[in-house]
Symmetry: C2
DNA sequence: CCAAAAGTGTTAGTCGTACACCCATGT
DNA sequence: ACATGGGTGTACGACTAACACTTTTGG
């Protein structure tokens, strides 16, 4: 390969992330408003250009910190978007990641050097986004559904533990189906992914629920 | 984003493919010998640099045609390798695909402008490869195992149909486990992925086997 | 003691697994 | 007729799905 061949010049790489949370039964995604061109003033996913001396994951985490103020997010690659015209300035290939986090653990910086209005938006009410980010987000939502069924992805939503009713509502919210309480409990326990603690949730007028945590395991037994 | 910021300059994209086949119960991968620098004379996966005006998948297919003479391979993205030093000439991010094909349907061009000795090699006996291709291949093998369990990926190995004993041997070869003939048949039929034809295989001294084909379906029910 | 939500157990049906016999072919 | 490998059915155990009552708390 000849380094100066124009065919290989002027390529850039975007890192793009769809970061989800679940808030009172509503699945939401983190979006921001851009302060700079291109797409100045428009909504977008958390994203930016990769530097030429960093790993893709490193660049993604850097962008998330710069544009939303949060760090060390667990992310999974889910797709590439590479239409040569997807960015108006130059050719940018988008490498796309998804993650899910506890919104109360990560404090979003609403306003940064390059962004404003960073916040969680219900995935059913997403405005028009910059670039091809609406398309990317739709794909991310599909992948999120697949991944929570076949992995312990949700451990990152509940780093400090969860109750059975809580996590059941999350599965129901993301997958749009309902489960029997008793069978749900049996099924998720049978995967071996989670384990109970001796902690109890705070009371609010009814029977307190036991708190469970995800084990540190990479077992890939399907959940549903 | 400022297009001329040196942080974003001198980035390139490699497309890399691990193309598998199964030959008499042996899982093999297509590798080639490079005629040019870097890594002149060394083995590598089928790969090359993306042009700045093409989609990633288009570039991948072009490279496969240029370097192995075959076209229209079904490929799935499985990982990104982005160590800034993975290529000696300039920073190249590797976008990696895997596929599996019928080796009798695709005639490999052993010798091309840029490559020689293109051929199928058993995955248990892979030489040292250029770049980080050994690492990429190992990841591809892991992903291949996952994918044949949860998708109709193998339909691309048998575009014209297969017999039960044939496909059973393929699953056994890739997954390194053995199945009971009768239960294997029931399980793969129960997925609804395949359907029988009225064709029979050619005889060779024993009872001829029925030929089955994969249906055109995107159902994601797990196979095993 | 009442309302609200959590926790538990049993039964029926379905699915997976183990296993043995018959069938179609070429020689 | 025999050797080779393909095709089928059944019975048992494991898992899944449906379902109702009891428990703990705050008010």
């Amino acid at each position: 390969m000849e380094v100066n061949n124009p065919r290989y010049q002027n390529q850039g790489i975007h890192v793009v992330s769809a970061i989800f949370t679940v808030d009172k039964g509503i699945t939401k995604v983190l979006i921001i408003k851009r302060k700079n061109e291109p797409f100045k003033g428009e909504w977008s996913l958390v994203s930016g250009a990769l530097y030429n001396d960093e790993e893709v994951m490193t660049g993604m985490q850097r962008e998330i910190k710069e544009k939303a103020g949060i760090e060390n997010i667990h992310l999974e690659l889910f797709d590439i978007f590479s239409n040569p015209k997807r960015s108006p300035l130059m050719r940018m290939v988008a490498i796309c990641y998804l993650g899910i986090v506890d919104k109360d653990k990560y404090k979003i910086l609403k306003d940064t050097l390059k962004t404003s209005d960073a916040d969680w938006h219900p995935i059913e009410q997403i405005p028009k986004l910059a670039y091809d980010h609406n398309e990317i987000l739709n794909k991310a939502i599909d992948k999120l559904k697949e991944r929570i069924k076949e992995s312990d992805l949700l451990s990152h939503l509940y780093p400090t533990g969860f109750t059975m009713p809580e996590i059941q509502k999350v599965y129901e919210s993301i997958l749009n189906i309902e489960f029997d309480r008793r069978n749900f409990r049996k099924k998720i326990l049978s995967t071996g992914l989670i384990t109970e603690t001796n902690r109890m949730e705070k009371f609010d007028g009814n029977k307190p629920a036991k708190i469970y945590v995800f084990k540190d395991s990479q077992d890939v037994k399907n959940v549903f």
